[in-house]
């Protein structure tokens, strides 16, 4: 079995990594998304380990390139390593990241049990990001990207995305 490894990000690199965003959710920095597991400087070389969100997420290759670019602009050469373990979970999205998602129009992930009820259409637990109503319904368990489901508000009638809980 895999043991949880501690996240370690060099303080000097945090501000640089905070400027790199998920290309598909451009308000969420990769730090707030929780995909950066380690970032250290060794002999003038920056080594960054990122973990994939969903296995097939096409954004990961772009994120790797964007980190390299940001590091270069800050004067660092860098190596990016994509790691599989520990597997990413939506719990790693920071409170700031959750807020950014909501403001962008994507409902933040619920806890695992509530998420299951919501995605089976059993209970109304997902709040409309447009008007705040809880009177919403699931339109599709799968959405515009692997990490989202599609909902619709019964009150303001706006469709919106919900970031699925992944644990």
């Amino acid at each position: 079995m895999i043991t949880e490894e501690k996240q370690h990000i060099d303080q000097k690199l945090v501000s640089i990594l905070n400027q790199v965003f998920d290309p598909e959710i451009p308000v969420l920095s990769i730090i707030d998304m929780g995909v950066v597991r380690n970032a250290v400087i060794e002999n003038d070389m920056v080594k960054v380990q990122i973990t994939t969100t969903y296995s097939g997420c096409p954004a990961m290759d772009v994120i790797g390139d964007d980190i390299k670019k940001a590091m270069k602009e800050a004067g660092y050469e860098s190596e990016i390593e994509l790691i599989l373990s520990p597997a990413w979970t939506t719990d790693w999205i920071t409170p700031k990241g959750r807020k950014a998602l909501e403001n962008y129009g994507i409902a933040a992930p619920l806890e695992a049990d509530a998420d299951k009820e919501a995605l089976l259409g059993n209970k109304k637990l997902v709040k409309c990001t447009n008007c705040g109503s809880m009177n919403t319904k699931l339109v599709s368990q799968f959405g515009s990207t692997a990490c989202k489901a599609l909902f619709k508000c019964n009150d303001c009638l706006e469709p919106f995305d919900y970031f699925k809980c992944l644990k």
Partner: protein
């Protein structure tokens, strides 16, 4: 090279590749927008998993092999996927029945694979379980909806289950690579998954008011590289670019 481990990885990964390709054929052709997006999302998850497996396989193979070589440059008989996943997208009932019959197995399999002594396989399994749980929920839901739907959807789903049933037993067939990997603590003993599999499948079929097929005659061969005629057509699509423009890259 660790031949048995390499072969064992293909036995797992080829299922995801071929099913992913089948689902990918539906891009823009699903019965409605939501199911179209769902099938291609599932396809993307499966391709992502396949990439992780093939990257590992390519590393074992050495001589500068890449994941793309493993995916695109093998002959039909070198693919080791089960016959179930290569069956065609006859209609939406077949697509969901195939998905459901595979998802139930896939989830049981990954649950065991995460205990593997091979850290890479274990890590891929831990990651994939999260995705495959969604797949299983989706396909089980559709089997119930179609089976317990109109008389037409019921009949079509029953036909699909009856036709695909013959490919289910192969999932639990042990190959030599399986046996060697089990001894090393790396592989999963699929024979032990059979009971839980049929239990879960029967539960869903009953809830869907569908009949459980009684046929005891099963098809196998995929794990030995002996496929139905459908695989050749899939590969001619899948491998087209690499065969036409050898060594092309994006």
């Amino acid at each position: 090279m660790k031949t048995n481990l390499y072969k064992y990885i293909l036995l797992i990964a080829d299922n995801s590749l071929i099913l992913g390709q089948r689902l990918g054929e539906l891009c823009g052709h699903g019965p409605n927008l939501e199911t179209d997006i769902a099938c291609t999302n599932i396809s993307l998850d499966l391709f992502g998993q396949t990439r992780s497996y093939y990257q590992y396989a390519a590393k074992l193979k050495g001589d500068n092999s890449t994941e793309d070589d493993v995916a695109f440059l093998r002959k039909e008989q070198d693919y080791l996927n089960v016959l179930l996943v290569e069956q065609p997208n006859t209609d939406f009932a077949y697509i969901m029945a195939r998905q459901f019959l595979f998802d139930v197995y896939h989830l049981l399999f990954l649950n065991e694979l995460q205990k593997s002594h091979d850290v890479t396989l274990s890590a891929i399994a831990v990651k994939s379980i999260k995705e495959v749980s969604y797949h299983q929920r989706f396909s089980s839901d559709w089997i119930k909806r179609l089976g317990d739907g109109t008389s037409e959807s019921h009949q079509k789903t029953q036909n699909a289950i009856n036709d695909l049933w013959t490919y289910t037993d192969e999932l639990f067939h042990q190959t030599d690579a399986d046996k060697k990997m089990i001894i090393e603590g790396i592989g999963v003993d699929v024979t032990k998954l059979k009971e839980s599999y049929y239990k879960r499948v029967v539960e869903v079929l009953q809830e869907a008011t569908l009949e459980v097929p009684e046929s005891k005659w099963f098809q196998k061969g995929g794990k030995q590289g002996i496929h139905t005629e459908h695989l050749g057509f899939i590969l001619s699509d899948l491998q087209y670019m690499q065969r036409t423009f050898p060594n092309m890259t994006w």
